[in-house]
Point group: C2
Chain length 494, copies 2
């Protein structure tokens, strides 16, 4: 067996443990009764230890050295590089710091759940300081090992290749037109009169509508399921993708759009190349590309008024409300394209969402680089919210800087993925439209050619190329925020 083959074998072993982790994690969120939680958490922690031991086994260093001098096919060179990248990421940070950070994050996250409800910034900021301090240490170590800046070294964990330099450029461009665009859209929509559908919309009917839409979007039920959980997510493994949603009997569109969003994530996972199953090169390219697929399904396709013309009669039939004007295509389009600045990121529409992300990016970047301190966050938050969205959060931490879980578990560098995803999705759509008429296909209810394009240009590429290269191969250029701007203008100002 060559050293490359040994590494392949080793990574497939890790991947099989990730399989168990994914299924038991899904079960914990979707199936497990409350009383099972302690033992489950212990079992998953044990598995994490075993996985960590395998990922950081001392012999791997020698194996990589040997494998690098072996004669390999071009494909295998790429695969080896991705193995090495994930191995380095797992090995750079000393075990002691990993553990310290993990403890601080657990403590911070746990306390945050009650502190948030009490608007207790003082209490929360004490814990967050610890987390930030350890994240800075981690960033420093990763920066030294990679030659990247501190924040970029964290960004690299979620969006490999992306840099502060690039993000500053992209986001300052967005900032130059977004606030004004939002005002224009609001002005346009000020005369719109929409009707709020009145529930109850029984969970069972919502489920059957969700299944019907998932089928329309090509979800493979032989390799996946839809279930319920408190916080919707896409989990499981490529051969068995588990997506979840949360049903609200008063409002069916939130679950529905959520299901379509997760179906985008799911199809990416279900369509990853079998050839590379269980290896780093066979995984999704990045968080941003993953989000681009869910947002492509949700924003590019499903909030298109032409698609809502398909959706509306399905909903009316499922809920047996053929004469309910609230379920007309026109009304559902108004509801699903409503732009309105608000405090909460997860409730934001696609036009105001980037403002929430840019604000977080700017704060976490400066926090990690040591340019600001935790104490500075509330004031900066309020200032930026006012500037970008005209919303005040003074003294309101619940709906301000305490609303998200990300920082509590030290995931600095994650937020940009959301808006990168929206921008990638818009750019993909422009390229697809050069090859086919998407509006016509949506009108004809024939989405297959669109999925085929995504499969060829995104899903089947997995991590065999860099994000930049994937974009260039798929769209002829690197990420360009103009496409996202055009998308918003076309949809909201046409």
């Amino acid at each position: 067996m060559t050293f490359y083959q040994k590494l392949v074998h080793h990574h497939k072993k890790i991947s099989r443990l990730e399989h168990l982790e994914a299924i038991c994690g899904w079960d914990q969120a979707a199936m497990m009764p409350e009383g099972g939680n302690t033992a489950r958490s212990e079992a998953l922690a044990e598995l994490a230890v075993i996985k960590h031991e395998l990922s950081t086994a001392p012999y791997l260093s020698g194996w990589f050295e040997q494998a690098n001098s072996e004669q390999l096919e071009a494909d295998d060179v790429t695969s080896l590089l991705e193995m090495q990248r994930s191995w380095q990421q797992a090995n750079i940070v000393p075990a002691e710091l990993v553990e310290k950070k993990s403890l601080a994050c657990s403590k911070c996250e746990h306390a945050w759940r009650t502190q948030r409800e009490k608007n207790d910034w003082q209490g929360f900021s004490q814990n967050l300081k610890e987390v930030v301090e350890l994240a800075r240490q981690e960033a420093q170590i990763r920066a030294e090992a990679t030659g990247l800046s501190r924040y970029d070294a964290l960004l690299d964990l979620y969006e490999p290749g992306m840099t502060t330099h690039e993000l500053d450029k992209l986001f300052s461009e967005v900032k130059s037109w977004l606030p004004d665009l939002i005002l224009q859209i609001m002005e346009r929509q000020s005369q719109d009169i929409s009707i709020q559908p009145v529930g109850p919309f029984p969970v069972e009917q919502q489920q059957s509508l969700s299944h019907a839409l998932m089928t329309k979007f090509g979800f493979d039920f032989n390799h996946g399921r839809l279930d319920k959980s408190m916080h919707p997510f896409c989990g499981g493994v490529p051969t068995d993708v588990r997506i979840t949603t949360r049903y609200d009997e008063a409002d069916f569109t939130s679950a529905l759009m959520g299901v379509i969003h997760e179906t985008g994530h799911a199809r990416y996972e279900q369509s990853l190349p079998e050839k590379w199953a269980g290896l780093p090169v066979g995984k999704a390219r990045s968080m941003g590309i993953h989000e681009s697929q869910s947002l492509f399904f949700e924003m590019q396709l499903s909030r298109n008024e032409l698609f809502i013309e398909t959706l509306a009669p399905m909903a009316a039939e499922t809920f047996q409300r053929s004469d309910d004007p609230a379920l007309s295509a026109e009304n559902l389009t108004l509801l699903n394209t409503r732009v309105k600045p608000g405090h909460i990121r997860v409730d934001a529409d696609e036009a105001t969402y980037p403002a929430h992300v840019i604000l977080r990016y700017e704060i976490e970047r400066d926090l990690i680089e040591g340019k600001i301190e935790v104490e500075d966050i509330p004031e900066l938050w309020d200032k930026k919210m006012s500037e970008y969205l005209g919303v005040s959060t003074k003294g309101n931490f619940i709906d301000g800087c305490m609303q998200d879980i990300h920082w509590t578990f030290g995931a600095f560098g994650y937020f940009p993925s959301y808006t990168l995803g929206a921008m990638y999705a818009a750019q993909f759509m422009v390229s697809i439209n050069k090859e086919m008429n998407v509006d016509n296909l949506v009108r004809e209810r024939n989405l297959q050619p669109i999925f085929n394009w995504l499969d060829r240009h995104v899903w089947k590429r997995a991590s065999t190329v860099s994000t930049d290269q994937l974009l260039i191969d798929a769209t002829g250029e690197r990420l360009n925020a103009q496409f996202f701007k055009q998308h918003l203008e076309q949809r909201y100002l046409k």
Copy 2:
């Protein structure tokens, strides 16, 4: 850390991996879409390897030696002994033989699934011979290491302490009265006229009735769930017990009695002592004791006509059939206490069931001891079926010696547990009746005192005592088949 403590730590680690195995195994049977099977099986196989490595780690031998010379509390001595017992069982058989047997069993079981349908004894017996040959080798090795006879060494895996000598005595006693008793019961029941309930009984209603009964039987839904699977089972972990059933819309009693049976298994698991969680001494005592709990729930309690007086109105209400005579207590009692010899073990009633088990026991005992060969099975099967139950299986392998899965995967020594369970259950009931009037409690729908007795005498004892000791402490004597005979006579000939 003492060596005893190191062993405790080690076994809890194994137990946490068993947790992941149990949940992913449950998921495979109850949730997983077909397409997920290959990757799931690989992931579980990987986990089995890791578990095996831990269970057979070379350093354990020294740890046990050291721990045995440490000063330990009496409780901990017991715990250490149980750890050592399971360690020895896992280490006696050479890895090479384990693997060979595992491959032969996979092959045999896989082929059996189609061979059975085709009544292909010739094909099946070829594979079975290989399995028997390897099981004999395993038995030989286990016999040498334990000083037991070959079959007893296998029996010890499922029913520690039980021996051929004891089983021969118990079963020959049963054989001396059972065939005649069955005839007498059939004579008695020959004039009974029962009405077969006519479906459909919607799955949802059966589910809600199942939940109601599980609640009545004390199932803790904060530490468990009920779901569907092809083959009903009780899985999961003590803090999160997963039972499954299969619903037939034409017949609600089979799922219902199945759910009650699994609830008996579940309560045992849910009630194991927390103090010993994750250690061998904290596990259920044996397969036979486990089955005694499910059969206590199903046979001793639920097929009691007084209990059916509670059950019948619940069913009638759930299915909205208050005037259906098929759902009257009298009729449901007739249906649920019907004795009728048949070919199939899993379809047998409690009176004919032991005949199925004794037949299998006698054959597998002689097979392992080398007194008969695979070729002899069909003739012996037919002879014994005729003798014990008056049923011919000549040339009918599907409904004869090819009906069970157990031998295909080499589980020789398992079958006796079923009937031992029925006998333990009858003996427990007699003792309980000395402390309280069970019929009155059932009439008053107050089962709690009965559960308290089981909790104290069976569930909380886990594996802290031998089965013999458990029986003596609970009932004043070792297993005595007379109690089972009395139970059948009282129920069927009174």
